[in-house]
């Protein structure tokens, strides 16, 4: 069974924001909620680098550990999903997540949060695959169609890789061997440990 992982190759990312736009469009993510974002370090300076960040679908997910209602689950593919019917919008997963992935749709009076929303690795949620309820709550389910996340598929420079961790790291290793320099598997230590 595949173990799904994301990897953003900072040597290739050109901060075109296509991954962000693709994600927003594919899942009709509401305003103010960003499942994926591009962070630019040293913007406009020598050595500027950008990385596309979303839920990394951690092996030992901190969000799942701290959730008071235990609404997270990991699929057989290693994708971390959650059940919005159980979520109470307490915000604990947002405090715990290293990647700032959890988002909340409402910021109404007194900062009351709605139900948490995050990247699903385009795998929908606990509802029946391709049902209306699944689309409204979690967005499209491309995994069930045998497709990989749209952000990575859209990536023009193939900086953002998504898929089986072994295949992803194989592609990345070949790149590093060809171009030289050191590998920078950013976020992998935090998300996947040493596995």
């Amino acid at each position: 069974m595949a173990r799904m992982k994301f990897l953003c190759d900072a040597e290739r990312c050109i901060e075109c924001q296509a991954c962000v736009t693709a994600c927003k469009s594919e899942h009709e993510v509401p305003w103010g909620v960003n499942r994926r974002r591009v962070i630019v370090m040293d913007d406009g300076l020598p050595g500027e680098k950008s990385v596309s960040v979303a839920c990394m679908h951690c092996s030992d997910a901190p969000c799942a550990a701290v959730c008071p209602v235990d609404c997270f689950y990991t699929t057989a593919d290693g994708i971390v999903l959650h059940d919005k019917d159980l979520c109470i919008g307490c915000g604990y997963c947002f405090y715990a997540c290293p990647f700032g992935a959890p988002q909340y749709p409402q910021q109404s009076a007194f900062g009351v949060r709605g139900k948490m929303d995050k990247c699903t690795f385009c795998a929908g949620g606990p509802e029946t695959a391709h049902s209306e309820a699944e689309y409204v709550k979690y967005g499209a389910n491309r995994i069930a169609e045998g497709k990989l996340p749209l952000c990575a598929e859209m990536c023009s420079t193939k900086a953002l890789l998504a898929g089986d961790g072994d295949v992803v790291s194989d592609i990345y290793r070949q790149r590093v061997m060809r171009r030289g320099g050191r590998p920078q598997t950013w976020g992998w230590q935090a998300a996947y440990g040493n596995a």
């Binding site: 103010g32 962070i39 630019v40 040293d42 950013w186």
Partner: protein
């Protein structure tokens, strides 16, 4: 020398001793620190760093960038939203997770179980503190209506907040196996809303309570004697006390004032994330809120036990506002004497309490 001169001299000696102790403490910190500052010219650390990373050995800008990202420094992002952050990684989350899922839940659970066990032990081996001379059948006003309303409002909201708060902390361990995920999520959803709305009202009540009772809770020498005598719970004697005894004063200062203010301030900042609180801030407030609340709840078990099961004739003071004269003499003799001196007349109890021993209308001794 007269007696007053002797005691004055003793006071003076004690005061000068205290001051010199304080001076020694301050100097023991200030002198070595001053020496270190004088040696380094106040900027020793900076100078050392500049020498180590001089122009000839500048660090690689790329590794600097990754190091900064790893340390949680922010970058630039075009995305906007209330929960969008410009950091690639937040390190506080893992710390908070380990604290909450480890020591907080483990020791918090032990604390509450331990406090309940302690109360049960005291009830089993010390038992109820009975009225030593039975009931007099005459009562005196102990709590004014406003004091009682405020007390019961705070008490009710405290219990509601404790139940909803503990549900969020321990529910996954204790309640989900019993209720199932769906029912618990529904309960936690209601609990969260109730907790968020009742919390501020509770905080206002706590503040009013502090203002209302602070003048009766000034520590006095008699409180030390009260503690030395075991507060009348341990041992046979009935130590003297004013309107509030030593134990009640500790509950006031530690429970209501310290825990109350800490829980209220941290709760306010958690409830209203509108002042630019970062994830690190929220995690810190949550930790403070949880630790203080757990200590407060453990302390509350003792307060609730002493006020109800633990002491015969205490609860009626808070429910009806009046206490039996014999109870007042036994537990709060100084306050009782003050009230009588003020001209307060004890009144006949409306309905004779069951099992009363004292002759109705005549306070015993």
């Amino acid at each position: 020398m007269s007696d007053s001169n002797v005691s004055k001299a003793r006071q003076r000696r004690r005061r000068s001793m205290l001051w010199s102790l304080a001076l020694i403490l301050v100097l023991s910190i200030a002198l070595p620190l001053g020496y270190a500052l004088a040696q380094s010219g106040g900027q020793g650390v900076q100078q050392q760093q500049q020498q180590r990373f001089g122009q000839d050995r500048a660090t690689n800008p790329r590794s600097d960038m990754w190091r900064e990202a790893r340390e949680g420094q922010g970058g630039f992002t075009t995305q906007t939203g209330p929960y969008v952050t410009n950091t690639m990684i937040s390190n506080v989350g893992e710390t908070w997770r380990q604290f909450r899922m480890g020591p907080l839940i483990t020791y918090g659970g032990y604390l509450l179980i331990g406090a309940l066990a302690l109360v049960a032990l005291v009830f089993t081996f010390v038992g109820r503190i009975k009225l030593a001379h039975g009931r007099a059948g005459m009562t005196i006003e102990r709590w004014k209506p406003f004091e009682r309303y405020l007390h019961w409002f705070t008490a009710t909201t405290f219990i509601v907040l404790a139940i909803t708060g503990l549900s969020l902390l321990f529910g996954r361990t204790v309640l989900i196996p019993v209720m199932g995920h769906q029912a618990f999520a529904a309960w936690a959803d209601i609990g969260k809303v109730v907790h968020n709305y009742v919390g501020p009202a509770f905080s206002v009540a706590v503040l009013l309570m502090i203002l209302m009772w602070v003048r009766h809770n000034m520590p006095k020498a008699v409180d030390l004697k009260w503690f030395a005598a075991g507060g009348g719970i341990f041992g046979k004697s009935h130590p003297s006390a004013g309107k509030f005894n030593g134990g009640e004063k500790v509950w006031f200062w530690v429970g209501i004032v310290v825990f109350g203010i800490m829980v209220s301030v941290s709760g306010f900042l958690l409830n209203f994330p509108l002042f630019g609180q970062t994830r690190a801030d929220m995690a810190l407030y949550q930790a403070i809120h949880a630790i203080t609340s757990l200590l407060w709840i453990a302390f509350f078990f003792g307060h609730a036990y002493i006020g109800t099961l633990g002491t015969e004739g205490a609860l009626e003071g808070m429910t009806t506002g009046r206490v039996d004269v014999n109870w007042a003499k036994q537990h709060h003799d100084l306050w009782y004497e003050d009230e009588i001196a003020k001209g307060v007349k004890p009144q006949q109890a409306e309905a004779p309490a069951t099992g009363s021993v004292g002759t109705v209308g005549q306070p015993s001794h």
